[in-house]
């Protein structure tokens, strides 16, 4: 086998993927900490999550700049082009996940006390599912694990069910006038967690596109072409 050409270019594509993975880890950790802050009523932790969002915003700018330079200078095609296209798209989803973690942390800070006991199991279930989805989506990106990508897509159905359950559960608790104000804020948290799940599905679908060149967005998990 002859020595490969374009070593620097190939290294830069690998670096780009490393940066996307590192950004994903920042967002995953932010989601995890925001949930801990919420359940523990830990305002200091909530503030640190909010502060940490700047690092995620800086990361996306750096990734976008790298993508633009690679397109302008290297004329990427085929898989290389998909590495860059998905670098753009996945980093956007990660940035949104980071924003939702920020929103959850801000709500945790504003609540200033542990949330009503009855709400905890509803949100914990939803939070665990969202956290699993982010972690799995980023692992399938790092390891190019397409069966895991499928699992993330399928998990979204469960996520929708949990969201519905949380929505009605919170509605019942909100019937009590003294809890109404605080529980209203928890509705938003349920929505943020559900959105985190949606962005994780997007990431998983972009990984499938990266590896197979198949566009499967907006199709059901079970009806993806050739899968």
């Amino acid at each position: 086998m002859e020595e490969k050409t374009r070593k620097e270019y190939i290294q830069n594509l690998e670096k780009l993927q490393g940066k996307v993975a590192a950004m994903g880890e920042l967002a995953r950790a932010a989601v995890e900490k925001s949930l801990t802050a919420l359940f523990a009523g830990d305002t200091a932790l909530a503030k640190s999550v909010m502060k940490g969002d700047d690092a995620i915003d800086d990361a996306i700018v750096e990734i976008e700049d790298d993508c633009i330079l690679l397109i302008a200078k290297q004329q990427p095609i085929a898989h290389d082009l998909r590495v860059i296209a998905t670098g753009f798209k996945i980093s956007t989803d990660i940035e949104r996940i980071g924003d939702h973690a920020f929103d959850i942390a801000r709500t945790a800070k504003e609540l200033e006390a542990p949330i009503p006991a009855g709400c905890v199991p509803l949100l914990r279930e939803l939070g665990d599912a969202a956290l699993w989805m982010v972690e799995a989506a980023m692992r399938c990106y790092r390891e190019k694990d397409l069966s895991l990508a499928d699992q993330v897509r399928k998990k979204d159905t469960e996520m929708d069910t949990l969201f519905e359950k949380a929505f009605y559960g919170l509605s019942n608790i909100a019937e009590s006038p003294e809890e109404r104000g605080r529980v209203t804020q928890l509705f938003f948290i349920a929505r943020f967690l559900e959105r985190i799940g949606d962005h994780s599905v997007n990431i998983a679908e972009w990984v499938i596109y990266l590896e197979t060149a198949e566009r499967i967005r907006h199709t059901k998990a079970s009806s993806a072409p050739g899968r």
Partner: protein
């Protein structure tokens, strides 16, 4: 890193025809400077001024300053042989001598009086390795250079230049006669060579300039329109003419 070569207010005339107008440009040490522009824009003429190769053409007149490590290369006492050893040139078409691979690389050294076999062997191997052709050539060093493929011949010609231990490499469209894979090999080689040399490359291929160079200079009608970091030139050129050229809107 400082400027290895610097050109100030260069004007060049072929008889009464002016080919270059007030060109000022610098080549940073250990970087690749790409010269781009449409045919006839003056980029090859400019390249040849960097090792005084236009002097052989009748009626050429040159005004301005060109320095190598701060010394004027057009000074009356410049030793042209020494200058061309320090500033080597690789041409558009591979032009190996009709002799063996070994003798092609050793040729310049012999001209400069090196006859010691062990020393020559060392230089030949080092140069062929630097030019990334040693593995392909090592078992056929005594074979004719003309038996090599075009891409191999071009790398051999680069090895021949490197044998003279230059400081600056001038490359005049070094890939224009090569297939895509050979082109990529030369580009890879350029990326490696810049750690040891300063490289100025003329290319018709804008994508090649984008891929291999650290800074890019755009020439049009004998004038330097813009020079800047390649990252900037290909994402946010300052001059509309540069943008039109690199995006293929005229040529």
């Amino acid at each position: 890193m400082g400027k290895k070569m610097e050109v100030r207010d260069l004007n060049l005339f072929y008889g009464t025809h002016q080919a270059l107008f007030d060109v000022s440009i610098g080549a940073e040490e250990h970087q690749v400077l790409a010269l781009i522009g449409p045919s006839g824009c003056g980029k090859s003429t400019f390249l040849r001024t960097l090792n005084c190769m236009n002097d052989r053409i009748d009626g050429v007149r040159i005004e301005g300053d060109i320095s190598l490590d701060g010394e004027d290369i057009y000074a009356k006492d410049t030793d042209l042989t020494l200058l061309r050893r320090r500033v080597g040139m690789v041409f558009q078409r591979p032009n190996p001598f009709p002799m063996s691979i070994y003798d092609n690389v050793a040729y310049g050294c012999r001209v400069h009086g090196i006859t010691d076999k062990a020393k020559l062997d060392e230089i030949v191997e080092r140069s062929l390795r630097q030019a990334a052709i040693w593995e392909e050539a090592k078992d056929r060093l005594k074979g004719s250079a003309l038996g090599l493929s075009g891409g191999q011949q071009q790398r051999l010609c680069i090895a021949r230049v490197l044998a003279a231990a230059p400081e600056v490499l001038l490359m005049d469209e070094p890939c224009s006669a090569l297939d895509p894979i050979s082109t990529m090999k030369i580009e890879e080689l350029v990326a490696e060579l810049k750690s040891s040399f300063t490289i100025v490359m003329v290319t018709h291929n804008m994508q090649q300039a984008a891929r291999v160079s650290d800074s890019t200079a755009f020439f049009l009608n004998g004038r330097l329109i813009e020079q800047g970091a390649t990252d900037d030139m290909f994402t946010r050129p300052k001059d509309k003419k540069t943008e039109d050229y690199i995006t293929g809107r005229f040529g």
